[in-house]
């Protein structure tokens, strides 16, 4: 019983982290239909930047998180402006953007490896200590992470709902020609979208790094997990990413409990396969 409760809690914690990680992916895909195959490395880069501000400039960790965000935004905008924008106009944009981001990811990963070395970087916990809930022990850090993730999701949904920029992004997501007709500058929106998504991704990377460990290569693991989550929940849908992340986070912790950690991937693959056969648009996704 106790172990089941523990698995439930840990599933919830990793699920909420996966949710914020998957958000960056789903934002780009939902609005610009570009699938970011460099996602994992963007997340890792965010983690390393936050770590650099934290250790080299000896800022408090929360402040270094805030410093990292504009850098990530700029990077996202640059990638769109100088590479993806041109590729999207060409035939076979689907796959060429995938390959471009993949190549960029590999390049960035190895640059990070050159600068920071292969050793594990420790990102500090936000709050130390832990509390007991009945028989289960929860770290304060994990609680803080869940609260941050929840706040982040609320801020993002409100941004998409209330602000003009968010509404313009939604309009582009619904119909590119339609949005163009009402006077939205599509390319500018795409640029902002990439910036926003890279920012969210970098932020999630820093959070993930504080829960798990961080080496340059870990980004590929995070990314493939993110892929399964967004496809599972429904690509381009924010509630989909959250639901998918929670379901798969639970599946992960219960698989670990029942069979061992190595079986997580095969279980995810089977779940993914079954879902794609029954509902190719994902759990929450609408008609495509």
């Amino acid at each position: 019983m106790e172990s089941i409760l523990n698995a439930l809690v840990s599933g919830f914690v990793s699920g909420s982290l996966y949710a914020i990680m998957a958000l960056g992916l789903t934002i780009i895909y939902g609005i610009s239909r570009v699938f970011n195959f460099g996602h994992g490395i963007v997340a890792v880069l965010g983690g390393y930047l936050a770590w650099t501000f934290f250790t080299r400039a000896s800022l408090p960790f929360v402040v270094s998180l805030l410093f990292m965000l504009p850098v990530m935004y700029l990077l996202g905008w640059l990638v769109y402006r100088y590479a993806i924008r041109g590729l999207m106009k060409k035939p076979n944009a689907d796959f060429s953007t995938v390959l471009f981001m993949l190549g960029l990811g590999i390049m960035l990963e190895n640059i990070i490896l050159q600068i920071f070395g292969p050793r594990v970087k420790a990102v500090p916990e936000l709050v130390t200590g832990s509390i007991m809930l009945g028989a289960i022990k929860i770290k304060n850090h994990e609680l803080a992470l869940m609260v941050i993730v929840l706040l982040g999701i609320i801020v993002l949904t409100q941004f998409f709902k209330r602000t003009r920029m968010g509404q313009a992004m939604r309009a582009v997501a619904q119909s590119i020609p339609g949005a163009g007709v009402v006077g939205i500058n599509i390319e500018r929106i795409f640029g902002y979208t990439f910036g926003l998504a890279f920012m969210v991704t970098g932020f999630s990377g820093a959070l993930l790094a504080s829960k798990y460990f961080m080496i340059p290569h870990i980004g590929w693991d995070w990314m493939v997990k993110g892929f399964v989550i967004v496809a599972f929940g429904g690509m381009g849908s924010i509630p989909g990413a959250v639901v998918g992340a929670l379901v798969l986070g639970m599946a992960e912790s219960f698989t670990t409990l029942a069979l061992g950690a190595v079986w997580v991937w095969p279980v995810w693959f089977i779940m993914f396969l079954v879902l794609l056969l029954l509902r190719p648009q994902g759990l929450v996704g609408g008609r495509n």
Partner: protein, 331 residues
Amino acid sequence: MKKLNLTRNTVILAVVLLLIVLYPLLGAKPYHLHLFILFFIWAMVASSWNLLNGISGINSLGNIGFMAIGGYGSAILAKTFGLSTLITIPLGGIIAMVLVTLFLGLPTLRLKGVYIALLTLIFADTLPTLLTQTRAVTGGAVGLHEIPPFFAGAGKIHNYYICLAAFLVMLYVIHRLIKSNTGLAFVALRDSENLATSLGVSRFRERLKVFAISALLSGLAGGFYVHSLGDISPTTLAIEPFLMGIAMMELGGIGTLFGPVLGAAIIVFGSEFLRLADVLRMTILGGLICVTILFFPGGLMQAFRKLGNLMDRRGKRKRGESVQAKVQSAD
């Protein structure tokens, strides 16, 4: 004009082929033979991958997985059951074909675009876990070593000719396939699915076919890989070989017959030079992919075609001039 072009290309091909055939007899070092063997195998992998991604426009990212299945299948059959490689390599290919058609071909029938890329990538990503979990059969994380060679006492030079022959046969098969009705159907589905299906091309059948063929050929390449190199481990499925495969297709020219072969040559021989750069190698490989996609989307084949056209045009002009000169002298 077209006829002239054909003969020139044929002559170049024949000379290159002759050099490759004669190369081991001219006293090549074993290490260079090894590089050529790698090139033949990679050219097979890239060509069969290109069948999916280039010819049929199905964005598979899992072909290294297909190759690993074929390789493991053949290696296990040969090592534990002591079967002849004449049987095990085709069997390995068939195992890869059946598994891939079942687990990827059928599910992707309902999927489009990036979903296929995702599913195939995750398929290939699941394999290392399964391999490390079935240590008794597959050797786990260490992999399989001392896999029997093609035949007892086969050396580098035998491996060279066997892989060369396999590569040539496979390239010929792919060439025939592209020219056949099946190949035309693949291309038609890639270029306009609606038009193709309205003309009676069965999307269901053609897609299963292309997955089956690509997996069979990749699996066979995997068989040649294990028996000429002697070992295989889950690191075959790491990110580097995967990226190398993609770089080969893109660099050489995706969707063409010789593009992947050319790309394989550049990457296999080029990464020998890059060995000096050591850790920077992956950075360069990634950068190469980026630059090719951004600036040379058709790869080297397109560049060659442009060059060929340019030479033709210049040749035409020259001949035109000489005709003019004759006319003038006749005056």
